[in-house]
């Protein structure tokens, strides 16, 4: 790696949002042709620093030096012009535009009269995506594609935008292992061509594998910066969240043993569920006090399956029975009444960004705590308890949800169902975007719920998530159940093999 002058240097960056200090005197340097890994707890300030670099936050104090000259971006456009592009943690695609338009967002090819050249745009977008291993009709509406594919397209757009500084804020959270591999190969190629890349992730192994340099954030400060080759996972975790918890997060390379099935009543029985092209003849049941993991690559039909369980989609065929009673859910309200709770994989779909945290948490229990009139003090009390239990930071229930960091928002999405535990909890990607400490918290919460006799279904494209939580695992592939693991040995490799 050239150890010469950094391409970008930030000095003593301080940024506060109202009363919340997100960054306190942070120094950060990025060299040409380097992949710079960024790790830190939820709310540590990673996204905030990157948004400063990408021109999203123009209001901060400190020095911003690009190519040796002090500058200041006033907008995202300025950053673009300087060759800086970012993939945001929250998907920032335009769902109503076509895939091709999204790929070219902001600089569509036009002819001399200024008309968009549709055919050329579609062709070039298709070629670009194919180079990245994405096979999709460039004219389809982006919002109709699964969220993982949308994320891939967004990543591809930024990678091929020709930027010389590329920032990826948790880009892999919705990707399947082969896609992650492809992404890493592309990142390394771009690095070798001289591009500088910042890569944020809560998957420490990924960070260690792909980056040259790793920086650790904690509580708005930079606490460590080392070469990736000279550090280790426990050392990084210790720097992130302190001593004593460095053993967190199993890697599941060795076999673990699934417990024998318990003789408890069946809470939910799904039989022969089919849905258009997404699901074929899926049957399973979940018992009280059991966690069922449903694993599969992106696009395997998980998302649709979860939505059927919560009454958001209706199956073409097949039936659901809750505690032995046949049910037809005509709305999500029906499903909730039957005792089912649901957390979708995308928090944008689950949360009210302009409302305070406590209203986000109390929304799903309002009908239990009040018949006609609201009881705000009771709502706050319930919210406060969940905030404590899940260690949501900052611990202020009056704050608008949009002011929380991504990982903390995810915790709120879970918190809203926990104040009055349902009979069956359906969790899609429950730990996506959470730091190692928070993941551990979620694991304990789910185990607690299981001990209380709840049935839980965990759907994930991350093998670790499923392995850390499930007592029994079924694997979905192209909409069908291809394998069930119960009362036997299982590991990450076996799981991947089955998918």
């Amino acid at each position: 790696m050239p150890a010469g002058q950094p391409i970008l240097e930030l000095q003593e960056i301080t940024k506060a949002f109202g009363g919340v200090e997100a960054l306190r005197g942070v120094d950060f340097a990025l060299s040409p042709g380097e992949i710079h890994g960024l790790v830190g707890e939820n709310g540590a300030g990673k996204s905030t620093l990157m948004k400063i670099i990408a021109g999203v936050h123009a209001d901060f104090s400190g020095r911003f030096i690009l190519d040796g000259k002090e500058t200041r971006f006033r907008s995202v456009r300025d950053a673009h012009a300087a060759g800086i592009a970012m993939v945001h943690q929250e998907l920032s695609v335009a769902p109503d535009l076509s895939v091709a338009e999204n790929v070219f967002l902001g600089n569509q090819p036009t002819n001399r009269l200024g008309f968009v050249q549709w055919r050329r745009m579609a062709r070039e977008a298709g070629e670009q995506l194919k180079r990245f291993g994405i096979d999709v009709d460039p004219m389809s509406r982006l919002g109709d594609l699964p969220i993982g594919l949308q994320q891939l397209i967004e990543i591809a757009r930024v990678l091929f935008s020709g930027a010389r500084i590329i920032i990826l804020d948790e880009p892999t959270s919705a990707l399947s292992p082969p896609e992650v591999e492809r992404l890493f190969a592309t990142l390394k190629r771009l690095r070798d061509e001289g591009t500088s890349i910042v890569f944020i992730s809560h998957f420490i192994e990924d960070i260690l594998r792909v980056s040259d340099v790793v920086t650790v954030f904690r509580n708005g400060r930079k606490v460590a910066e080392t070469r990736a080759a000279e550090t280790s996972k426990p050392a990084l975790i210790e720097a992130m969240i302190g001593k004593g918890r460095e053993a967190l997060e199993e890697t599941y390379t060795h076999d673990i043993m699934l417990p024998p099935p318990a003789e408890r009543p069946v809470v939910l029985n799904a039989s022969s569920l089919s849905l258009a092209r997404s699901l074929r003849d899926v049957s399973f049941d979940v018992r009280a006090g059991e966690v069922l993991g449903i694993y599969g690559f992106m696009g395997c039909g998980q998302l649709e399956l979860a939505r059927i369980l919560f009454g958001k989609l209706r199956p073409d065929q097949g039936t659901l029975a809750v505690a032995g009673d046949q049910k037809t859910f005509r709305s999500t309200a029906d499903a909730r009444r039957a005792g089912i709770a649901f957390v979708p994989e995308s928090r944008r779909d689950m949360l009210f960004h302009q409302e305070p945290v406590y209203k986000n948490i109390s929304i799903s229990v309002l009908d239990r705590i009040s018949s006609l009139l609201l009881k705000p003090s009771r709502e706050r009390e319930i919210a406060m308890r969940q905030v404590d239990q899940l260690r949501i930071r900052p611990a202020a229930v009056e704050l608008d949800l949009g002011m929380l960091s991504g990982g903390n928002q995810q915790k709120v999405a879970l918190a809203k169902w926990l104040s009055y535990p349902p009979r069956l909890l359906v969790l899609c990607e429950p730990t996506r975007g959470m730091d190692v400490g928070a993941k551990d918290d979620v694991i304990h919460i789910v185990r607690d719920l299981r001990a209380k006799g709840l049935a839980v279904i965990v759907l994930s494209t991350e093998p670790e998530t499923v392995l850390s939580l499930a007592d029994r695992v079924i694997v979905l592939k192209r909409g069908a159940v291809v394998r069930e693991f119960a009362n036997e040995r299982i590991s990450k490799d076996r799981l991947l093999e089955a998918a």
């Binding site: 949002f17 109202g18 005197g25 949360l351 018949s371 009139l373 609201l374």
Partner: protein
Amino acid sequence: MTTGDSATVAADRKRPHRLAAILRSQMRNIAPFLTLICLFSFFAVASPSFATLDNFGNILTQISVTGIIAVGLTFVILCAEIDLSIAAIANVTGIAVAYFTLQESYVNIANVPMPGWAAILLALALCALLGLVNAFGLTVIGIPSFIMTLAMMQIAAGISALLVRGQIAYKVPPLVTTLGSTSIGGIPWIVIVAALMLLGGHLVLTYTRFGRYVYMVGGNREAAEYSGLNVKLILGSVMVISAVCAGIGGMLGVAHFGSAQQNEFDTYLLDSIAAVVVGGTSLFGGRGGIGNTIVGLFVLGVLNNGLDHVNIDSFLKILIRGLILLAALIINVYAQRLRERTAE
């Protein structure tokens, strides 16, 4: 650089920042209020007859019918929907209540006289029914509210036309006459009714579970659905509430104007929408409320009334009115942006 330095730097910046953040997040509520104060001061200076107690009473009376209609519309807009049929429903309800009342012999309408209470109940049932049709189209069939209520506007106008057939009716039940055109202790009943309805709307939106659901559905419909709310039921309810408020406004309006005829309420559609939006309720839903609508009503009332007190070409007034409304709307959109930026 020591960390101590950065902490003090941040502490110094904290206080003005917090104030600025509060101001910015309250922009939606502050801006319309400032507009109102500016307009009021301007007319008070420009015309000696404007800032009098008498004229204040006039303004209150002038905004009452709009106010009653706007209560329901506030619910609809908070849910990020729109109701274009309110004026037509007000009209048809006003006509219906006259249709079921015995008219003077010179009125040439084949009407069906009934006792006053029955006429009122039938008229209310009619507007509720039209609201239900709106609700059905929006939630069960899935027609966007803009289109559905546009159709309803025509349907209601059609029913009106069939009932009066180009004639004018004058008589309405005594209760409606009292509430619409008489005063108690110097305060017109219609102002009292409008105030009570606005208060009621405010209480429902702020203190009831249903009110919270309205805000949540407007704030993020998908999230409301994933929280297990019955979104369709809530949307359907606000359409019915809107139609009933419009109906009440229509009945009292007919008594207030002293006649029931076709197209009598046409201007009330835009006025009600303007009152809600100028007051700062977001057309994208989830933000605002009756408080905003009240400020919006006063902005409109002061503007309409004030322009009559100053000496300008009456044709120019229409243009000026439009420009001022545009300015208020720009402020509204701008306030929305500021807020989004703070919540980024």
